[in-house]
Amino acid sequence: MDAYLIPAVDGVAYGLLLAIAAAGLTVAFGAGGVLNLAHGTLIAAGGYVAAATSSGTWTGLVLAVLAATVAGAAGGGVLAAATAALRGRGHLDQALLTFGLALAGGDLLTTVYGPDTLRPRLPAVLQATVTVGGHRYPVDRLAVLGIAVVVCAAGYVLLHRTRAGRLVRATVDDRAMVAGIGVNPRLVDASVLVTAGALAGLAGALSTPILGVGPGTADTVLLLSLIVVVCGRLGSVPGAVAAALAVGVVQTLGVTTFPTVAPYLLTGAMAAVLLARRTGLPAQARP
């Protein structure tokens, strides 16, 4: 059992990172109705901004996280403006538009930040290791784990226990009714995209100490987030968290336990989930 402790902790930390990344995607799709293929690029942008802002001090770290979140939110705003014109034209148009924005944005990021993989400079305390159950474990990952738990909990409370959250969920179910109580559903859509962007930026900032951010980051996290969203049901934050944890654990325990089939484990798991559920995706996206 001892052999699986560290990979399991690692899997949870990695999974929670993915949960934040995928939460933005699933909220944008499920609640905002926008299939956002630029989500990975927003995460990469957050990572680059965080890496460039950090300075090795605690203040620098806080600034880096804030700057990344703001950058993500701004990106979400741009997407909201761009996709507003496409409302009602189906997901293919949205996919094409956001994919185009992702390509242009990705190119812009490499031009500005260069082709190297960047990592933020962390305070010395976070770069140390602690002993967990007799094994060495990096402090920065534990810190990410802690922050991720807080963000996921806050996200759940916001969506399910506040008026704003109720409005968002109501907009998904019945736009006309929301308009009827005097709230502009388009405003809700836009704020959902901005929030999703902020989550993406935050996820980018949190993942850079561990994984770094480089030209391949956007594609990798978009793919993983899509897998999480598909496995966790669209628009469901608890579903995204559960699926992300499963993906994280599969990615860490799986690769060491079944190394030969590791590359296929994730897509295999997704296929199994889809087969077991057998519901069409568009039907879920537009109830």
């Binding site: 052999a3 560290i6 990979p7 690692d10 899997g11 990695y14 490499t110 082709p115 190297d116 993989t117 990592r119 290791t129 094994h135 060495r136 474990y137 990096p138 990952r141 561990i210 994984l211 770094g212 480089g214 030209p215 391949g216 990798t220 990615q251 860490t252 325990l253 690769v255 060491t256 190394p259 590791a262 590359p263």
Partner: protein, 402 residues
Amino acid sequence: MTTRSMRRRIAALAAAAVLLAAAACTDSPGDAGTVKVGLLVSLSGTYTTVGEDMQRGFKLYLDTHGGKLGGRKVDLIVGDEGDGPATAVPAAQKLLERDRVVALTGLVGGATVDKVQTLTTAKKIPLVGANARPAFAPVGGKARDLTYTWHTSYNSDEPGIAIASHIKAQVGDGEVYAIGPDYQGGYDELRGFTDTFTKLGGKLANPDGKTVFTPFPTTENFLPYLNKAAQEKPKAVYTFYAGAAAVAFVKQYAQSDLKDVPLYAAGFLTEGSVLTAQGPAATGIRNVLNYSPTLPNPANQQFVAAWSAAGHTGQPTTFAMASYDAAAVLDRALAAVDGDVTGEELNKAIGEVGRIVSPRGDWQFEPTEHRPVQRWYLREVKADGPVLSNVLVQDLTTLPAS
């Protein structure tokens, strides 16, 4: 789009393609004093920094030799190799067919070399590769024709072969854990080490005695692999990674249960810009390569000085050095060709360049396999003044052994 407008567009496209092809055919040969040389390196993707380094090395030679090779002005045409054959093959085809280069150099990845080699051979254009050289698989049951294939670098399995006996001496009866990336370069690098090491009586700490290969380029979370490896209680670890993966690997190694286990590597793990990114986590890593910026020979001192004078940050790498040497080879060979340069004549001249005075120490081509016979060095990552450097520790061996 209606069927008719679609048809019209296809017709237009086809016409454009025909015109382009015709233009390429009637392209007049450049004036006798100029030769076109193709440089194909990664300018995007995982190995961009390696590709840019190679480009700098080649250009440094050109710039310090008046923009000429063998007395001829050089028109250097640069192509982007990207992450591998998918992007590299079309780029190579463009250089060979549209630009009509007389030689192709560069090439970062082993898989790229494997594919492009057949193109250049078919066109009888010398390929002067300056980085990875794979174990060429036979095509259609026949061994590869290497007449037009040259490398100023090394065979990808040589670093491992060169360091195996040193590691065996260090660990004694202890076991060594072998781990690397799951692609051609990883197989070659790791096989070089594991084959030689086990032949010398060494034992691998890996369960079932097989190297662990991590998915490439998707895995940059190495912690689970490293902690798993720690359970085997190896006396040392041998690895090869390059580029972004090398940074992640070295940083996470220092955070893992393996932290106090000596790490040996093919020198690419700590070569070039990755070393700056790794920072103190890389200190003490012992690695093997055919070059160290601290080599004391005059050619190297000149090379290092020219590198700094050109305004490049950091120290020159083996990638830059081998590309610089590719230019030196072409310089000597082009000087030996009279009149118009054809691929065949240039190739013959390359076979006769003899000893190359190089920053790595003098070397020459092995006559049948067309790769350098050169010395390999043990290096250790140490602070060299204010910067980290791969400091020369000792000579290891000359490969290929005659």
